[in-house]
């Protein structure tokens, strides 16, 4: 469990209340041990997740963002995750042009009963973020490097 050693990275989770948040609860009730990096924000539905929340997190210094909702065709609100699927897929494909590693963002579907699956999702994603390391912070330091790079080109 590489993710648990060393200090945590900032991973933001956006979970729908009905499925994935319940799945994370189920994982807790089942005492499925997970890395501690993830901080979960509860939203009613994955359809509530504006892709800009993900971008805002990444711009503000999150090292990874994980979104999870009900499985397609199983949305508490019938259609929310269908909209989410399109928005999040577009977002994932948008990230490279910004110079943001698209692996820092992932979306998936976990139901309230899938505690074991949730553990796997958290573990896999956290390990991935630790392999990528801390995200470059959009600060003065980066600015200076960027300018040096621009001069060199």
């Amino acid at each position: 469990m590489s993710a648990n050693t060393g200090s945590e990275l900032k991973i933001v989770g956006f979970l729908c209340n009905w499925c994935s948040y319940g799945g994370a609860d189920t994982a807790g009730v089942g005492r499925f041990q997970q890395p501690t990096d993830l901080r979960i924000i509860r939203v009613p539905c994955s359809g509530r997740i504006d892709p800009l929340f993900v971008l805002k997190s990444l711009f503000n210094g999150a090292d990874g963002v994980l979104v999870s909702g009900c499985h397609p065709r199983d949305c508490h609100y019938a259609e929310g995750n269908f909209y989410a699927r399109r928005r999040l897929e577009v977002l994932k494909r948008f990230l490279p042009i910004l110079g943001i590693d698209e692996r820092r963002f992932e979306y998936t579907w976990v139901s309230a009963s899938e505690g074991q699956k949730w553990k796997t999702v958290v573990q896999t994603f956290t390990e991935r973020i630790h392999e990528l390391g801390p995200a470059p912070k959009l600060d003065q330091c980066l600015m200076e490097r960027a300018q040096a790079m621009a001069m060199a080109v």
Binding site: E79, F94, T120, M149
Partner: protein, 317 residues
């Protein structure tokens, strides 16, 4: 009678039923056109149609909603009108669209890059072959493709997709658009891409000309950039904050942007803003086989879904 004269005659014919017709007239110097709001027949006589007519006049339409307005458009501008109609931001009954086949417009920025100062432009002779500009006593000629707007090189819509009065022979040529600008940028190392935007966005002066020129930016007075409610942006003028505004703009336009390029053209410091929107359009076309502003009856893909998506694999572990 030239096409332009025919167009003027048509506009005069329709003008009595309209509050105004928006077109172009010669601006403050021979290189620059400027929007013209025609209310009388005398106004119509000032109308021009040439490669200097760079503005997308559809931008004015949402602000004039509720009034009877005519608008002169190039092929690419007509896509903005279709998108506006599709999103019910303007009423079809209230607008009359005038158009002629377009052979491309110049990029003033490209000319400026070649000449240097454009402060004293004395004369311009522009056609689709060459552009001859005389500045401060000295003349320079350029091949039209070298100083045409980038969007014209990949134009698929020389002829307006929607018009009530069309003058001239429709031109149905279609150039290939392989999004090579996007792919070549993405071929650069990730760190370089990030650095590129940081250095570009540092130059942003937050004038929001990009937003004001965008025909589909409809928040207007309630733009989060100024109202900061919802609190997407802070009051700092940090590069991060300025860049985030462009990301908001791009995401708001996902599946809606018709690539008229007004954001980029209007930017006084020349930040290549269209690249972000082109990237989104490339992905949206791949995912949903959709081009914004081509069909009035279709729905922007992010306001729709399919139970089984054709090109999105279910993600999961």
């Amino acid at each position: 009678m030239s096409n332009l004269d025919t167009l003027k005659a048509k506009i005069k014919e329709r003008l009595p039923d309209l509050d105004m017709v928006v077109g172009w007239e010669q601006g403050f110097d021979p290189l620059r056109a400027t929007p013209l709001f025609m209310r009388t027949e005398e106004d119509v006589d000032r109308l021009i149609w040439n490669p200097l007519c760079v503005h997308n006049l559809a931008t004015y339409l949402p602000g004039l909603k509720g009034r009877k307005v005519g608008v002169v458009v190039k092929g690419c501008d007509s896509r903005s009108i279709i998108e506006l109609l599709q999103e019910k931001l303007i009423n079809r009954d209230d607008i009359v669209v005038f158009s002629m086949p377009c052979e491309g417009v110049v990029s003033v920025r490209k000319i400026q890059n070649r000449i240097g100062s454009l402060d004293y432009v004395e004369s311009v002779e522009a056609d689709t072959g060459t552009v001859k500009v005389t500045v401060d006593g000295s003349s320079q000629s350029f091949g039209f493709p070298d100083v045409a707007a980038s969007k014209c090189g990949r134009c698929q819509y020389h002829t307006a997709l929607l018009s009530d009065e069309f003058v001239g022979e429709p031109n149905n040529e279609k150039a290939e658009d392989d999004y090579s600008d996007v792919t070549s940028f993405e071929a650069r190392p990730q760190e370089e891409r990030l650095a590129f935007w940081m250095t570009e966005m540092q130059r942003c002066i937050q004038c929001y000309a990009c937003r004001n020129a965008c025909p589909l930016c409809v928040c207007r007075d309630h733009c989060v950039a100024q109202s900061r409610d919802p609190h997407w942006m802070t009051q700092e003028n940090s590069t991060q904050n300025k860049w985030f505004f462009q990301v908001i703009h791009a995401m708001h336009l996902a599946g809606r942007c018709t690539e008229c390029g007004e954001c980029e053209r209007a930017c006084p410091v020349g930040i290549p803003l269209l690249l972000l929107k082109r990237k989104l359009n490339k992905e949206i076309e791949e995912l949903f086989d959709y081009k914004a502003g081509t069909l009035i009856d279709s729905t922007p893909p992010l306001q729709a879904f399919k139970v089984e998506e054709d090109n999105i694999n279910e993600r999961g572990w």
